[in-house]
């Protein structure tokens, strides 16, 4: 079955202020496909999500979302475009002067035409699914790591986005506590009409629900393949990364 192309990244080159760079990165993904992008620190994986989300206005190459160039959006279109994306940031970015529930409601109150009652029931459903009932009235400062992660995830999927971008979400998370999030993410990834891009240092944790894996090193793609290719580890860069070894083609700084 031919699925509609959702995202296409074409020969993107960009270096951010911190020195993280992408060099000639190209890939595409169809609707319903899930992708894991990984690589060591400074590999350029960290600039992929901001580029897709359009926080970088000027870069070399093209990124197409549903066939339209992200760079071509004007100020207002860029904001509208972001409604179609869910973005789970590395540090979660919860609004500190709002409760967990208000944080989840925020994109719905701002963007959707739903009534307050409908928003309330949708938020209740999300809170129930992610097991956040006990902390819905708490501010982010009172939430544990996994509660923060789950609240941020609820907020990211509140508008039912076409593409979910997850950036180093499991960094510093307890393996056990994050299972509730992983289960919810698994359900999301199983949907045929929604896609996920996961940027991580631990690709093996997403093996079960990812279709493709891309590894970056020094800004370029050094491995791209299916789940089977990833598990087979025939690529020397991938092998070194998965062994966490200092011996191999990659130099660790």
């Amino acid at each position: 079955m031919n699925r509609e192309e959702l995202l296409r990244v074409e020969s993107v080159c960009f270096t951010d202020a911190g020195g993280a760079a992408c060099r000639d990165v190209s890939f595409s993904m169809a609707r319903g496909e899930n992708l894991v992008i990984f690589g060591p620190e400074g590999s350029g994986a960290e600039v992929v999500c901001p580029l897709i989300a359009g926080t970088v206005i000027s870069f070399d190459g093209e990124i197409f979302f549903k066939g339209r160039s992200v760079e071509s959006y004007d100020y207002f279109e860029r904001h509208t475009y972001r409604k179609e994306l869910g973005y789970l940031q590395r540090n979660y970015g919860l609004i500190n002067n709002m409760s967990a529930e208000e944080n989840i409601e925020l994109p719905l109150r701002y963007h959707s035409r739903l009534s307050s009652g409908e928003i309330g029931s949708l938020v209740n459903r999300l809170i129930g699914e992610l097991g956040l009932d006990h902390c819905r009235a708490l501010r982010p400062v009172s939430l544990s790591g996994s509660e923060t992660l789950r609240t941020a995830y609820c907020r990211a999927i509140a508008l039912d986005p076409d593409l979910l971008l997850i950036e180093h979400a499991l960094e510093g998370q307890c393996l056990l506590n994050s299972q509730q999030f992983m289960r919810a993410l698994g359900r999301w990834c199983a949907r045929e009409d929604r896609s996920v891009v996961i940027v991580t240092y631990e690709p093996e944790r997403f093996v079960d629900f990812s279709d493709r894996f891309i590894m970056l090193y020094e800004g370029g793609i050094v491995f791209s393949g299916s789940r089977d290719d990833f598990l087979a580890r025939r690529n020397e860069y991938l092998d070194q990364y998965m062994r966490s070894s200092l011996d191999g083609p990659m130099r660790v700084r």
Partner: protein
């Protein structure tokens, strides 16, 4: 270094001894003096350039807000309702005790000074005029704005700066929320509402509270006091008070938000918060003088 010194020494000795040394010392002194003059001249030039740069950046900020305001029709008021309510409460309601205290003290001192000194000049009938001129036209709006800047202006700048450093502003952007509209607009709305109400409360408290306090020192019949004040008060005074509250209500959050968005790291937050307060105060005084000159000169 050692080798160089060894090579130079014989040359110096071969010259004219003390004269050469003196000349060299003189040259060094001249050079230092030139450098000092240069640095003295450079400082104001640098400041002027920095001022120009700052004005240009502020203009760009205001321009970006103006661009954002074009999409205000898409903004759902329910999303900013709680911000407007919280900001109005913090800027207006929570500031009432300090506003009332300062208004009482200022009103009392003005009335005491007037009742003590006016009879010397035979103008005791103009106490009402003085109150309207001093308190309603100038001190009321200015003192209120100063209190709002020091309480709410600093809080706005610090809050936005902290949110920026915590990447909360970025997360709003990533949700497709226009941060200029979502952050600045409700604060301007709340600020106009709060400042206008506070100015009215300040003036009323200063007039009547001040009158009551002054009774302990001097006696003025209440009827006379009210009548002279009503005679002195005109519609233009009310219009100018509204104009000032709208202008201050726009400028205070605007400047403080501008400085709140500026810090690039945590340690810059106090620097920019302090700048926000000081510069807003200076601008308020300038605006106040400008309005007074425009309408009363």
């Amino acid at each position: 270094m050692y080798i160089v010194r060894r090579r130079i020494r014989p040359v110096c000795r071969a010259g004219s001894g003390k004269t050469m040394k003196n000349r060299r010392a003189q040259k060094a002194t001249e050079k230092t003096a030139m450098l000092k003059i240069e640095s003295v001249l450079r400082t104001p030039v640098k400041k002027i350039i920095a001022f120009g740069e700052g004005m240009r950046n502020f203009y760009r900020f205001v321009e970006s807000i103006a661009v954002s305001f074009r999409s205000i029709k898409y903004l759902r008021f329910r999303s900013i309702y709680s911000i407007v309510v919280n900001q109005t409460r913090f800027t207006g309601v929570d500031a009432l005790p300090i506003i009332v205290s300062i208004a009482l003290l200022l009103g009392a001192t003005t009335i005491i000074q007037a009742t003590k000194n006016f009879p010397k000049f035979g103008i005791e009938g103009f106490i009402g005029n003085l109150l309207v001129i001093i308190i309603a036209r100038e001190l009321g709006p200015l003192a209120t704005a100063m209190i709002v800047v020091s309480r709410s202006g600093s809080a706005i700048a610090a809050e936005i700066a902290t949110q920026k450093q915590n990447r909360e502003i970025l997360s709003l952007e990533l949700m497709g929320i226009d941060t200029k509209l979502y952050i600045v607009f409700p604060r301007i709305l709340a600020s106009i509402l709060a400042i206008f109400s506070l100015i009215i409360i300040f003036d009323i408290t200063a007039f009547f509270g001040g009158y009551l306090i002054s009774l302990s020192t001097v006696y003025i019949p209440a009827g006379v006091f009210v009548q002279t004040m009503l005679d002195a008060f005109s519609f233009s005074d009310l219009a100018i008070t509204i104009l000032k509250s709208v202008l201050y209500g726009i400028l205070i959050p605007l400047i403080c938000c501008y400085y709140g968005f500026m810090p690039q790291s945590d340690f810059q937050i106090p620097i920019f918060v302090s700048r926000a307060v000081v510069r807003t105060l200076v601008i308020l005084f300038v605006i106040n003088a400008f309005i007074s000159a425009l309408f009363y000169f």
